[in-house]
Symmetry: C2
Subunit: 328 residues, 2 copies
């Protein structure tokens, strides 16, 4: 019998989760929950209904794992602990600084409910975290570097859109090839933010907007752009729609470290992702960890877990024997 | 208190393990065991003694984890199940076809002894297996490719040395850059052995040896060379010692797969290793999994595990809180 999945929210990430469920025969979408009017939402899975978030708790015995598809800024800090009272839950909470607090709040509710929660799943935090952790354990004397891109940063795109006179914008984070190669060369380097990434902005403005001022406002925006070499291209809405409507992303995690009795050997571990769609890939990772959440809870486990706490075999639909025979 | 490690065997891999132990403050080398005369062996760790393998069982209460540093052909199939009767054990058994049998034999003994065994640890099988497995779970509709090298294959070097007239030899396995790039492009390709790797041989022969015949014997050797484009360079022993005495290795695991509601998005996951010393890196992986074996057994678990069965947090000397704060 298939594992029954619920999705809370129906934005880009939820659609990625929905598509990923279809690629896994042992998983089945049971329901989607929204804060909007359910009748206004058309999903991509035949025979599955959309319900109000207020009705979600009624599904507590019909859904094996609830995938939380809200945003990290305001949705997940409240929703994940709340729904952990009733469901096994998996989320993609990505505000690194607040993970300990989010873990604590969710763990408390999952333990009370005898359910499993898995937080901060995706690619960063997510499989990138896993790479940082495993490679640090294997090469304890070394350095790790994370480069993001080339890809669309929705947070940076939103920041540009908030500037007066801007109609639409798309921001690409671009890793520095030169710094990537320096990191690969195994040198112990401290990079500045500016050395690791550049930022490319495609911006649509109102007629007669002051482009010089807008470009200056972008380039001087603290946190988002001031510490980076930023280029700004003003384009038409049509060009933005035609050439920049996707959400590609990716990046690189490197670990360099020494081994040998005299630390005489250099080693480089490199992991990279090239993703045509950030939310579709993140959804695929969430779905694999939803399988793990279900299995762990079936075994009687409860409480909050991160990607570090899950034995990889739980992610696969293959049996342990198949994994040993075919993938080991 | 440090986790006390024993090493069974004292070849290249054992020396890699010994060096790796020194890089981990929570681990301590307790003893080395050998089939040779212990007094003839000089190890690199002050204050630690070498004993006969026949005395190993006497150390069963002094050693937390025994790392099995023998070969996969004849040593490990016998030794790992045998020592699993007395110790938590970790090995690097790498004969892929015989892993299910080796797992079964070892599992039986570990369960009887209430100990943990972890088999087939290193980089392939090992972290490469982990990458194949996790990326297949995350991208279930796709292909994976494993390329090895550039690096020294000891099995192929040995095969050349067995040819009449050959004094010494070193064989490098070299991945095809062209095929690597095709795999990265995300095409669903079936490569032949010849398309994926070439083989470079550096060979020292006796004076007056028939080089033409030796080159022909190498290139036509079934399984080892006949299916590959092989180049043979005859060099002096001095040049071999100077330029080819290391044991570098590495390789690439790629997974390409589609996501999205119409499978419209391509994704490429790539993991690569560049290792100055194959045995030193393999030793580092074994040591991280020795830490895991100890912890799992302390928790009361027993039986045989593979890299798929171990939650990554067990590998790290950092606490769960530290991992969540710094690496997630």
């Amino acid at each position: 019998m298939a594992i029954k999945i619920g999705i809370l929210g129906y934005g880009n990430l939820a659609r990625g989760v929905e598509a990923a469920i279809k690629q896994n025969n042992d998983l089945q979408l049971e329901a989607v929950f929204t804060r909007r009017d359910p009748s206004a939402i058309q999903i991509q899975t035949a025979g599955v209904s959309v319900y109000s978030i207020d009705d979600a708790v009624k599904f507590k015995d019909r859904i094996d794992v609830m995938i939380m598809a809200g945003g990290s800024a305001t949705d997940l800090p409240k929703q994940t602990p709340e729904f952990a009272q009733y469901f096994n839950v998996v989320d993609s909470f990505d505000t690194h600084a607040h993970i300990p607090e989010h873990f604590h709040n969710t763990d408390l509710q999952s333990k009370k409910a005898n359910k499993i929660s898995i937080i901060s799943i995706g690619w960063d935090p997510g499989v990138f975290s896993l790479m940082r952790m495993i490679s640090s354990a294997v090469l304890p004397e070394g350095n790790h570097y994370t480069f993001w891109g080339k890809g669309v940063s929705q947070g940076h795109s939103d920041a540009i859109r908030r500037i007066d006179g801007v109609l639409d914008a798309r921001q690409y984070t671009v890793p520095s090839e030169e710094s990537l190669n320096k990191a690969r060369a195994g040198k112990n380097i401290e990079f500045t933010a500016r050395q690791m990434h550049t930022r490319e902005c495609y911006v649509v403005v109102k007629e007669n907007a002051d482009k010089v001022l807008i470009e200056k406002q972008i380039k001087e925006m603290p946190d988002y752009f001031a510490d980076y070499d930023t280029t700004v291209h003003f384009i038409s809405q049509q060009e933005l729609n035609e050439k920049h409507s996707g959400l590609p992303h990716g990046g690189f995690v490197l670990r360099t470290g020494v081994t040998g009795n005299h630390k005489e050997y250099n080693n480089v571990i490199e992991y990279s992702l090239k993703l045509d769609s950030n939310p579709a890939f993140t959804g695929s990772v969430l779905v694999a960890y939803a399988r793990a959440a279900y299995r762990l809870n079936k075994e009687g486990q409860s409480g909050c877990k991160t990607i570090f706490d899950i034995a990889p075999a739980y992610l696969s639909s293959l049996s342990e024997e198949e994994l040993r025979s075919h993938l080991l």
